[in-house]
Structures are given as C-alpha cells and as structure tokens.
Symmetry: C2
Subunit: 303 residues, 2 copies
C-alpha cells in the first residue's frame, strides 16, 4: 500500500455512494454514522473495527477493557449524532494461541458496558485464526428530537464547545472513556446544535472535518482549550490536546445566543463544558492571535 489511508477512504466513499439506487440515505459515509430513512423513525448505522497493535495491545491490557472500548467507540459515534444506541453485532477474529478466558473476558467487558447503556448485543460472528485479535462492532441507533446532528451545519458566528479535557488519551482513557450519550441527548433536546462530531482523530483534525462539511473556518482561544493532566499532575501541551486523538469527547457548535444560555445551564448532566472558539466566514483553523493551526492530527498507530 502506497496509497494513504485518507485517499483510499475517499475512493471507497465514492464507490459506496454509487450503491444507493434506492435513495435510502439521508447521510452516508462522511458523518459519524450513516442516517437511513425508515418508516417509524430514521436509523443510525455505523461500524468500528479495532485491531491488536493499532487500537489496543492485547498483551498488557485487561481484556475486559478491550471489549469495553470496542463498544464504547461505536456508542460515541451514536452520541455524536445525538442518537440513542439500540443494538450491536460483534465480530471477532481470535488468535488461536491465547488462553480460553481472554475472548470471554473481552465479551464480558463489552456486555457490561452494553448493559450500562441499555444496548442489545444481538449477533455477530466468532472466528479463530492464527493472527492478531480483531473486533468489529456495528451499531444501529435511532435519532432523537429534531433528528440527527450532522457535521455540516456550523454557521459563521457559532460558538464551539467541547465536552471535556483533551489529550493524553493514550495514557489509558481511550480504554475507559464514557461515551457522551446522555450529554448529547440533553444538549440536542434543549439547544439547536448546528454541528457535532466526536473527537477520535484529535480536535484539530475532527474540527477540520466539521469545517469541510459546513464551509468556513474557526478561531480557537488557546487558553480555553481544556487540557488533560499527566500522571505527575502537569497539563499536556496544546499540541497534544489538538492532535492526540481518541479523546471521544464531543465537539459541537451552537449559535451565539444559545451559547450564552448554555454557559449558565445548571441542568446539563455532564462535567463542565468548555467554549473554545468561534466559527468564522474565512476558511482555515487558527488561534485568536492569528497564528495558523497546522497540526495534522492523529493517525492511528500502535498504542
């Protein structure tokens, strides 16, 4: 493979778009989930594949946390649409040289999170092979309220928020994060969210996805970006917060008036919200002092 992953995905996206002859898609590849027209309520549909050595290291990780993450990343996609997850399939390729309890502990961690979020594990495929562990989870969900929140609706002047501190997920949070489902549902119910995305590739890269779909650019306040802490108590760098990825916090936009109300909203069920910047008519991503943000964001590597 010399083709970069992003170009490969672009080409696949094009091919996939050609298959919707029945016009079932409201939103296809390119948002956090697909949105399918269905009588009785539109359906959200997505999948995330995790591989040993890329998204987790089986060696040295509690298997329950691997199963937990495989489900959590999918629930985060549903959260990013302000949806309710309904059911998942779980497909496993299990290495033949691991102890018997490992796949069961993986499924136990996954099932426990499923119970916590009232998601039904309803099927899948279990295989044994001579290569590293792969878990693919596909999720369906339903939209809430005014329908799914897409990436493409941010308007110049909208304020940009994130649901929690960013960076350093690699230290362990990527295995233990809580998908922001109730937070997203509350926000969607009480505010007109103009766009939303979950931060999986790093704030800089994911915000660029929003800007590509919405048009325009963004200005961020350096000092407003919430930073996670190192084990020694020090904060991570701005670059880490922008680029580390796998934060699985939500980044969303609301109009200025709504932002003012939201900042005083004591009913919000999550931790503190952070207002980090505004959408601008001019393209590009920069800090308030004019400095361009060039950081490219997270490419999945071994962790």
């Amino acid at each position: 493979m010399t083709l970069p992953e992003t170009r490969l995905i672009e080409k696949i996206k094009k091919m996939a778009a050609g298959t919707d002859s029945r016009k079932r898609l409201i939103t296809g590849i390119g948002d956090d989930t697909a949105v399918l027209k269905r009588p009785g309520g539109n359906l959200l549909f997505a999948a995330d594949m995790l591989m040993d050595g890329t998204h987790f290291n089986l060696q040295g990780t509690e298997p329950e946390l691997i199963g937990r993450k495989a489900l959590a990343v999918n629930l985060s996609d549903i959260a990013a649409m302000a949806g309710i997850p309904l059911a998942v399939t779980v497909s496993l390729a299990i290495p033949d040289n691991i102890p018997d309890d490992i796949p069961l502990r993986i499924m136990s961690g996954l099932s426990d999170l499923a119970k916590e979020y009232e998601v039904t594990v309803c099927g899948g495929d279990t295989n044994i092979w001579k290569n590293p562990l792969v878990i693919d989870v596909a999720v369906i969900g339903e939209a809430t309220g005014r329908g799914p929140v897409l990436r493409g609706g941010a308007q110049p002047g909208d304020h940009i928020f994130v649901t929690g501190p960013l960076g350093l997920s690699i230290l362990g949070r990527h295995l233990r994060f809580c998908p922001r489902l109730s937070e997203a549902q509350y926000l969607h119910k009480n505010y007109l969210l103009t766009s939303m995305i979950d931060i999986s590739d790093g704030l800089a890269k994911d915000l660029r996805h929003v800007l590509e779909m919405s048009g325009g650019g963004a200005t961020l306040n350096r000092e407003s970006i919430p930073l996670n802490r190192n084990p020694d108590g020090s904060e991570c760098s701005i670059d880490q917060a922008l680029a580390d990825g796998e934060d699985f916090e939500l980044c969303f936009t609301v109009a200025r008036d709504a932002a003012e109300i939201l900042k005083r909203d004591t009913g919000y069920p999550g931790g503190p919200l952070h207002e980090i910047g505004v959408i601008t008519p001019e393209r590009g991503l920069r800090f308030a002092d004019g400095q361009e943000i060039t950081i490219s964001g997270y490419e999945h590597g071994v962790r």
Copy 2:
C-alpha cells in the same frame, strides 16, 4: 484456545442474551439474523467476518470475488429470513504490503453486488495493518409478509426442501454464489414456510440447527439430495453434499399439502427445488433406510 469454537459461541450467546434489558429482540443470536422490534417494521441485523486463509485466499483469488463474497454471505443470511436487505457497513483490515488496487478491487466487487441487489453501502471502517486481510460486513434488512422465517418452526410431517445442488463449493462457487433472496421472498409470499436456514456449515450441520430449534428429527432420501459436479462431470459424494458447507442454498420446510402444490409451482423464480426428506417426531438425522447420519459438517478451514 483449547475451547472449541461452538462452546465459545455458546458462552458468548449467553452473555449477549443478558444485555437485552429493553426487550428489543424477537430473535437473538442463534438464527440467521437477529430480529429487532421497530416501529414501522421489524429489523433484521447480522454480521459476517471473512478472514484471509480461512474464508478465502487473497493470493490467487480475484479481489473482486472476495468483496463479492463478503457481501453475499450476509445477503444469504437475510434470504434465510425471507427478508429484504437494506444497507451494510463494511469494515476492512488491509495488509500494508499489498498493491494499492487490491482494496479498491475488493470494494468494487462488493459494490457491484450491492448494486445488483439494491443494497446501500452506507459506512464502515478502513484500516491498514501488518497482518492478513479481514473484512467484516454488517447488514440490516426488513422482514416481509408474515415476518421473518425462523429456524424453530418445523413440524413433524413437514417436507424438507433445498434450493439447489450441494457440495464442492470449495471449487469456486463459494466465491460466486447468488444469494437466494428473490427465491426466499417468493416462497414466503406464496407458502407458509415453517422453518428456513441458509446452508453455510453443510446440510447435515445446518439441518441439525433447525432440528435443535424446532424439536424432532429428520429423515432424508439419499437419492433426492442434489449433488454438485466435479470438473470432470462426475457427481460429488453424498458425504460431500452433507458436509462441505458454504453452499449458501436455502433449506426450508413446509407442511405436506403445501409441498405438493410447491412441487408443481411453475412461478417459482429459482432453479429446480429439491424435496429431500421429512421432519419426524423422533429425534436424530437419518436416511430413509434407517441409517443414521453421523457426519458432523463443515468447520471453516483454509480454502
């Protein structure tokens, strides 16, 4: 792993069943697809994972056929419920050492079949890694007519049919078979099918799945089992037809009176149907001469 795959699946099934606190499932793990209650029509949901060296050999196989198969096996699951497939997600783990065109040709083969069957490819996940190719496809579909045809409804006296010849799929048909969607929909519309399954693990094993779910046993007429042919024109053995697997024909049951009408039905859109036996009140699987069928069926191996 010393735990056999079937016991592992049993344990996973149990854990999964514990997650349906919201009682969304009409049918969970253990049928060809899960059936989920939804306003506006129940939903079918399933996934199948294919791995290089197990379900195909990337080396020496047209990549288009690999993509085709990854979708076709899922469509066959929907066919086994007499459903209509709606949309799929496609997750790929792509080895980093293959030419750029391989994943695109895989997706092209998959997309072409999707167009043929009017299935929307709406999402998924594309990853590159240093290990063999994995494709996981998850499918959603809708039930037709009286609802999905399950495995558990066969009654003593019902006649057993298969939709085409069996055995020798390994010679290439497993890569090129046509999922029996229109056949299943026609049968379901015009007959009261008491059970249906797609033959992926071999007739003997899959029919045993039906018998486990329905109760009772079955008697097969040795001479009625349709046999595929070797390249030299000779027929395969009965054992091959019973055990080879990956035929992806449908095996279904109907009451005796319906069977008589079906055998004279000139409107059926598929190739010749084969009546191969009857459901009996006594447990077990045997030939009409009383000989017990002990063959265990297909375990996925390298092909």
